[in-house]
Subunit: 318 residues, 2 copies
């Protein structure tokens, strides 16, 4: 019986393991792989205290830190979590693990274009997070492919760093918040590429160019660039907990200020929650909060059940 099972393998999961482990709890982390969202990034420059760190390197380092405090790690996919009288039963690869509490920190997956070359060049020119990576393309040429305000925001941000920003659109314009559209229209280094669809992402070790299909003329052409930002939003694979905790309309787990869900004993942290901003530093903060709230929940449980003695029994110092 674990005090807490943490589902996930990224910054949030191992930070939660660090804080619960350091509070003396018996901790098991179950993750599909190590790294999570951080794996999609070459270099993280905005994690406070670490001027430049690889995504995988950051997560591995938090993992070692957590294991110093006794937390265990199991590489497996959690397919079911069941609430019981004494806590929770977590199923992963057919085996069952019991715990008093659960912290859900299994992140999100960025929605991709689904075109050839995209997967291979992830973290090598193809980025899914402008906030994370835009400054890496200072003075370079980039393209932004996406929809909605997130994409407009990425274009604006890239325009501050890159020499040239191609704003790719399937229609004749960019759509979203009029203020953002207007702000972009003032940027002389942003160029709209309308009626366009990406057919292929091309590069050997690094991204070199895009193969574009012109929806208006039917013609094909190449667009040489250093960086491509795919801003199509994220997918949360929270199906396996949808009967357990409340999800919002984007399948994100709804959390309170202390990262608790609507189910007592279950907490959530990181990209999987309904908090607006998604950043490694924010995930870490959420995870620390979830861990401390989880500890407090267990302390209250402990107080509620089975404890009968009283302070008066404690001997006075001689």
């Amino acid at each position: 019986m674990y005090d807490v099972i943490i589902v996930g393998g990224g910054v949030a999961a191992f930070t939660a393991a660090l804080f619960t482990g350091r509070r003396g709890l018996k901790v098991l982390v179950i993750g599909k792989d190590i790294g999570g969202q951080a794996n999609y990034t070459d270099t993280i420059e905005n994690f406070p205290g670490l001027p430049a760190v690889g995504g995988y390197e950051l997560v591995s380092s938090i993992r070692s830190q957590a294991e110093k405090w006794g937390s265990e790690y199991l590489e497996a996919e959690v397919t079911r979590i069941k609430s019981t009288e004494t806590g929770f039963v977590v199923t992963a690869y057919g085996s069952q693990y019991k715990s008093k509490t659960v912290i859900l920190a299994f992140g999100k997956t960025p929605r991709d274009l689904g075109v050839p070359g995209e997967d291979e060049l992830k973290g090598r020119g193809v980025s899914f997070c402008a906030t994370c990576d835009a400054p890496l393309y200072k003075g370079k040429t980039v393209a932004v492919a996406g929809v909605g305000d997130v994409s407009l925001d990425a274009i604006l941000l890239c325009s501050k760093y890159s020499k040239k920003v191609y704003a790719l659109s399937k229609t004749d314009r960019l759509q979203g918040h009029p203020g953002l559209v207007k702000a972009i229209s003032r940027k002389t280094n942003v160029e709209l590429v309308p009626f366009i669809q990406i057919q292929e992402v091309v590069g050997t070790t690094q991204l070199e160019k895009l193969k574009l299909h012109d929806l208006a003329t039917g013609q094909q052409r190449d667009l040489p660039i250093h960086g491509l930002f795919v801003e199509l939003g994220y997918v949360v694979n929270a199906d396996f907990v949808k009967d357990l905790v409340q999800l919002d309309d984007q399948s994100q787990i709804v959390v309170g200020a202390d990262q608790s869900t609507n189910m007592p004993g279950i907490f959530a942290a990181g990209d999987v929650t309904n908090r607006h901003y998604k950043q490694a530093a924010i995930s870490a903060g959420e995870a620390a909060t979830a861990a401390l709230a989880c500890y407090d929940y267990l302390a209250r449980l402990e107080g509620r059940f089975g404890l009968t003695s009283d302070w008066t029994q404690i001997k006075r110092v001689k």
Copy 2:
């Protein structure tokens, strides 16, 4: 005219500077000193990604990271912030600085015992944060002096690590949540020291002992210990912003999920806010959120004022 002035000099302040700077904003940090709350700790073991780091070292490193993105730092005490038509005027040491937005991140000060020796041995045996430092006293003897649930929580936590925990109380018992009191009463390594007042904290380079005054007998005695946890809560010195933003009954700044205050354009992050848990990692997460929310606020402002051109003016790629 700065885009944002950040008030504070700790983890939250410089993390906010890093994230706003990296978003291309013109940033000024004004702090009384560098380090903030982190200065009260010898070694921070629970900052994700940094296995063991000095408090001052951590803050200095975030500061360098922020300055790489252009943020400026001014060592001064902010005494007034005034809202104007175009933003805010911040007064520090008689000089005035203008900005469009403000992030308040000036932290809290732990309430101290006010006895001789306490100040000199801060971070050298005298700690104000059990969550931060309890694991540093593994196998050692410590004392906890404090009031309320925070103090009970500190006693419980110390009992997991230390060989012996003295729970100091001015009365005949510990007061607080009955569950916590009962949980403590089961710990065989916790000993209540009732009717006691600390008169002096003694040590040369490290804490050695406490001079105690027995309130029942009037006698004095020494208690040799390795660590003293002072858990008397915190003081927020938010008087200078009390007419600007909403404070709670502990003078903490009330924030929303995006770290905004009730005053448009003013955000808050870190120990100064009304969030329950206070940890360096949590402060960093709050600061990253505040910074991104501040950027979005400015983007909306930009969109609202003065921009008239349109996407149709942007040339199509040749």
